[in-house]
Each structure stands twice: as structure tokens, then as C-alpha cells.
Symmetry: C2
Subunit: 331 residues, 2 copies
DNA sequence: TTGAAAGCGCTAACAT
DNA sequence: ATGTTAGCGCTTTCAA
């Protein structure tokens, strides 16, 4: 193109301050620079962090924006959202740990949507039908158990909300496996808490809070308990205090997610940290690649978590001295 | 339309499973069922909650979806986002408390975008150029101060992050006014903390944490301090503990926002609660109304906050017995 | 009551 | 190197 033609056009653009219509462009090309993101709820800061990390990278790197949808882990809503996104011309979506049944997602894939599942493993035998980006959740469970065991705990427990996701199941498996391997006298139990409302992820704190009673009433009360996420762990610690016991003196607690806030609560929460930012970036990369190269082969990409040790884990009560309980309330 | 024609069409729709293209529809009608939402960062759970409340209502009530953008309170980013939203054909946007300068927002309004400002007051003399939905922040500040005063505190302080927003300014004004009115021996100071990074809202906790030192070194150390939000308050409490003092025995703390998590931290945080859900719904209502009736007159709508009393506020040290400090660390 | 056609603002393919 | 044109899939208006 000639210099002056270019200048002339530039001038016109400026003068009319012309901005291309995305709608028209999309109608022509069939694509729109938007990525979908389905999370249980943005009110849970761990998903909030994920959303921010994705939005940031998608924008900086590819000029894509992110359309955020809260699914409340509701299958109905989820598939309506998927449909809507397709109607908007969105080409790729990141779906965060829906409950295990994926039929509605497969339907969306059939209709041409590229989907990247977050934190949802694939059954060993099953064929991978779309990308999966996830933390090594078995390792996460294992890290939690090992940390507790290293501190001398023999009676472990793992607290999970009722709704099963694959990531939760894997965490449980890893936790149990590590306890088993520790052998001699180490026992581990799974405590399934009831979720009442469907807005499960907002009530994660209260769920942990209420589970405290259940745990404290067990005949062989555990001295070290892990939870699937930090919100639940924080609620659990509050519940334990409410019953007059303290963390970690009476019961040690380890969470998962390593929320920013977890370092500031009392006691500072020991937690299994997931590399959220890297995972977010990988998901965006994959999503865009799928848009650009239709036939792309689905992959499963796993990231390793690591444990961040703070002060919610200590020695079990009576580790040295003969068993003796401390009823002093924190204050 | 005749019965059978209708049936025939329905049948075709089903058979081809036809779904109208939003892009084409938008190109024709000039509108798209999407609302924009600009927040400092979705990683801050208070904005996460807001986003959820809006998304929920917009979808249920009007069939609109929400496009969430994280601004980091960065003017540059903010206006790029506004431009993008206009290009996408978005008709209305909710903007959460940008720093005071609103020129870029006015530019967007000029270009036909309807904007609803959240938590951003209008200067008394200034003309209202767009909708404003906000909490009565002066009242919020006042409630915090009064609560402290009722518990016998004489030396108050209010902790604010450096970046000025109108809502922060109003909180400060209310706080100061209430202290003033209490008269006799009640003093109040403003402590402005430095924010280092531009990602201010993610680091709110650490900001509170680091401000503890500043507060504890004051010659006439305050016994009751309020903060602009719960994240900062939680960080502050952690900082106070770090220096060997406890909340509320040595220093009482009151936050603002009343995050779900605030009830579960230790000590449970007393906080000024804003009616987020109602505000979110009002904003969506206004946004849609602006889209449907172009000439609509801008309004300023204020919601009253209320104080939720928990355990982070107590009597000042030495209220009964002669001054005596408690150096016991919580545990 | 139904069918036909114009045109929204772009992009891609083609003609100059 | 530049200009022209068809058509993406709808809605709206007008004709039958």
C-alpha cells in the first residue's frame, strides 16, 4: 500500500473516529474474541482468582475478553449457558469442575464448541474428548496427609462436601493412600458433609463450621483433618473454636487452594497450593489454539501442587505427655 | 398465524435444531443482551459477590449476561475496556468505584453507553451525568465510629488505602463527624497506608497487615480502629497479633463489607454491612431501563448500611482496672 | 396470513 | 496498489 493512501485512510479513521463493529465482523468471520468461563460461583475467591488470571492473560496475550458465568454446579443452568455462549459465537469455553456427569458438555462439543475442563480428571479407561487441565489432586490429598503424619498424627480425617466431583474424589484417594502407606496405627476417615442449599460454594464456610460438631462427636476423634478447600477449612476452624477447642492444639487443620486470605486468618492456615496462574494461562492457550486449529487433539495437562506450611498444624494433643485435653478457649 | 403453519415452523426449528445467531440479530437491531461490569478485581470477594448478584438477576429477570472486566483501578485499562464494550454493542455498563476522575467515563457516555456508577458519589454542586447507586458511606463511617465510641473508646483511627475514591472519602468524613460529635475527649485520626503495587485490591490483606506496625508505633496509640473494608481489617488483625497484641483486648477493629468469611475469621469481625444484593438488582434495573428508554434521566440512589456486631470490638484496655496491657499472644 | 426483499457493517475474493 | 462486490443471518417493511 502506498504511503499517502495509508495516511489518507488513517486520517478518515481518526476524523470519523471509526471503530469496527464486532457484530458485523463476527457475522462475516464466524468468530468473536470472547472466551467463556463457567465457574461454580465468582463469590468463592478461589474462582475469583482464577477468573482474574484468565481474563488478564487472555486480554494481554490474545486480545480476548472473558464472559463469566456462575453455574452453582447446576447442570440445567450449565447447559443453558453453554447454549447461550454458542449463540453468541463464542468458540471456546473453560468449564470449572462441574459435577461428574458430562453429557451436556459433550453435546456442546458436538456443536462445535471447544471446551477446556478445569480440575476434572479423565477416567483411566475413558477416551479424552476434550482438553483437561488439572492439578494432581491425588498428590494434593497425599501432601495433606503426609504433612499431618509428619507432625505425629495417627487419626486423620478428610472433610468433603457432599456433591462429588472428580477432583474431590482424587483428593480423597490420595489422602487415603498416604495414610495407608504410613501403615502402623495410622487411620483415616472420610467425612461427608451435607450441603443444604444449591448455592453450595457460597456456603462453604458454614459447611465447615457445621461439620465441626460431627467431627468432635466421633468416638475416635481425629486429631488432624484436611478439607477440600480453604473456605471449608476456615469454617471448620471457627466451628472447632465454637466448641471450646483450639487449632492446632486440639485438632490440626489443613486446607487446599491457598487463598491469599488464608495467610491472614487465625491461625494462619496450612494449605495445599495450586499453581492457579499457570493453569489459567495454559487453559487460555489451549482454548485459543483450539479456535485456530479445529482438528487439534485433546490433551490432559496436570500441574503439581505444593504444601504451604503455616500454623494450623501442630503436634497432636498428648504427643509427649500422656493424653490430656485442653479446653481453654482461644482468646 | 395459522395453527398448522405454526406447527410446521416449530417442526423445522426442532428438526434443524435452529438457534438464532446473536451476531446477526445484533447487527440488525443494534443491541446485544449483555451488560458490562467493571470491577477493580474479581479476586476480592466483595466484588465477586457483587458480580454474582448482578449476573443472577440480569439473567433471571432480563435474559442478559454479564461481561466482567477487571480494571485494577487503572484508568488506561478502564477506558480501553469501555471502548471494547461499545464495540461489542454493549448498551450499558456498571462501573465500580473507579478513582475519582471520571473523564473517560463521560467520553463513553457521550458515545452512547449507559453507565451506572457503583459506590461513587456525586459532588454536591456537580451535575449528575449518569446513574449512581451507592451506599451511604458517611453513614457507614459514622456507624463504625459510633460503635467504637459506645464501647468506651476515646482514641479512634480510620485506616484507608492511599488511592482516593469518593466512597473512601465519605467514609472518612462520617467517621470523623461522629467522633467530633461525641465531643469530650474523643479523638480520631486518619491513617493513610501506602499501596505499592497497582494490583491494590488483591493486596488489601497485606496492606492491613503492614499498617499494624504504623499504628502500634503512634505516640497516642488508638484503641479502636476502623478500615474501609473487611480484607484490610482481616490483614490488620493479623498484623496486630504479629506484634504480640490481641483483638479486641488491646485494639478493637471494625471492617466494612461484611464478607461471608468475616463471620468465620478469628475473632469474628464486626463489620458495616452493605445491602449488596439489593444494590446489584437496582443497578441492573437501571441499566436495562436506560437501554430501553434512551432519554432516561440519571438518578442517584442511596442504600443504608447497617452494623453487624461480632467479637472484634470490645472495651478499650484499662477501661475498668487501671491501664494494664495484655501481651499474651492468642493461641 | 404468508412470502419476498432490503440492508445492518463487515471481510474476502475478485477486477481493475 | 486500489476499488468493487457478494453475502454472513437476522429483522423489518412492504407486497401479495
Amino acid at each position: 500500500m502506498r504511503q499517502d493512501t495509508f495516511a489518507r485512510i488513517e486520517g478518515a479513521i481518526r476524523k470519523l473516529d471509526y471503530r469496527p463493529s464486532q457484530a458485523a465482523r463476527q457475522l462475516k468471520t464466524g468468530r468473536t474474541p470472547i472466551l467463556g468461563l463457567l465457574v461454580p460461583t465468582a463469590a468463592n475467591p478461589s474462582f475469583g482468582q482464577l477468573a482474574v488470571a484468565m481474563e488478564n492473560f487472555a486480554q494481554e496475550r490474545y486480545g480476548y475478553r472473558v464472559l463469566l458465568c456462575n453455574t452453582y454446579r447446576d447442570k440445567q443452568l450449565e447447559s443453558r449457558m453453554l447454549d447461550d455462549l454458542i449463540d453468541f459465537g463464542v468458540g471456546a469455553v473453560v468449564v470449572v469442575s462441574s459435577l461428574s456427569d458430562e453429557r451436556h458438555i459433550e453435546a456442546a462439543i458436538e456443536r462445535g464448541l471447544a471446551v477446556v475442563s478445569f480440575d476434572l480428571g479423565v477416567e483411566p479407561d475413558a477416551q479424552i474428548r476434550n482438553d483437561h487441565v488439572l492439578a494432581d489432586n491425588r498428590l494434593a490429598g497425599r501432601l495433606a496427609a503426609m504433612h499431618l503424619i509428619e507432625h505425629g498424627h495417627k487419626r486423620l480425617a478428610f472433610l468433603v462436601p457432599r456433591g462429588q466431583t472428580m477432583s474431590r474424589r482424587h483428593k480423597v484417594e490420595g489422602f487415603l493412600a498416604a495414610a495407608e502407606e504410613a501403615g502402623s496405627g495410622v487411620s483415616a476417615e472420610i467425612i461427608e458433609s451435607d450441603t443444604l442449599s444449591k448455592f453450595g460454594d457460597t456456603e462453604l464456610c458454614s459447611l465447615g463450621f457445621e461439620s465441626a460438631e460431627k467431627i468432635l462427636q466421633m468416638k475416635r476423634r481425629p486429631t488432624g483433618v484436611a478439607t477440600v478447600n480453604d473456605m471449608t477449612a476456615i469454617g471448620l476452624m471457627a466451628g472447632i473454636r465454637r466448641h471450646g477447642l483450639s487449632v492446632p492444639e486440639d485438632i490440626s487443620v489443613v486446607g487446599m487452594d491457598d487463598l491469599v486470605m488464608s495467610a491472614y486468618v487465625w491461625p494462619p492456615l496450612t494449605s495445599v497450593s495450586m499453581p492457579v496462574t499457570e493453569m489459567a494461562q495454559k487453559m487460555v492457550d489451549r482454548a485459543i489454539q483450539h479456535i485456530n486449529t479445529p482438528g487439534l487433539r485433546p490433551e490432559q495437562i496436570t500441574f503439581a501442587p505444593h504444601l504451604v506450611s503455616r500454623q494450623s498444624v501442630g503436634a497432636p494433643p498428648g504427643a509427649r505427655k500422656p493424653a490430656q485435653r485442653n479446653h481453654a478457649k482461644q482468646s
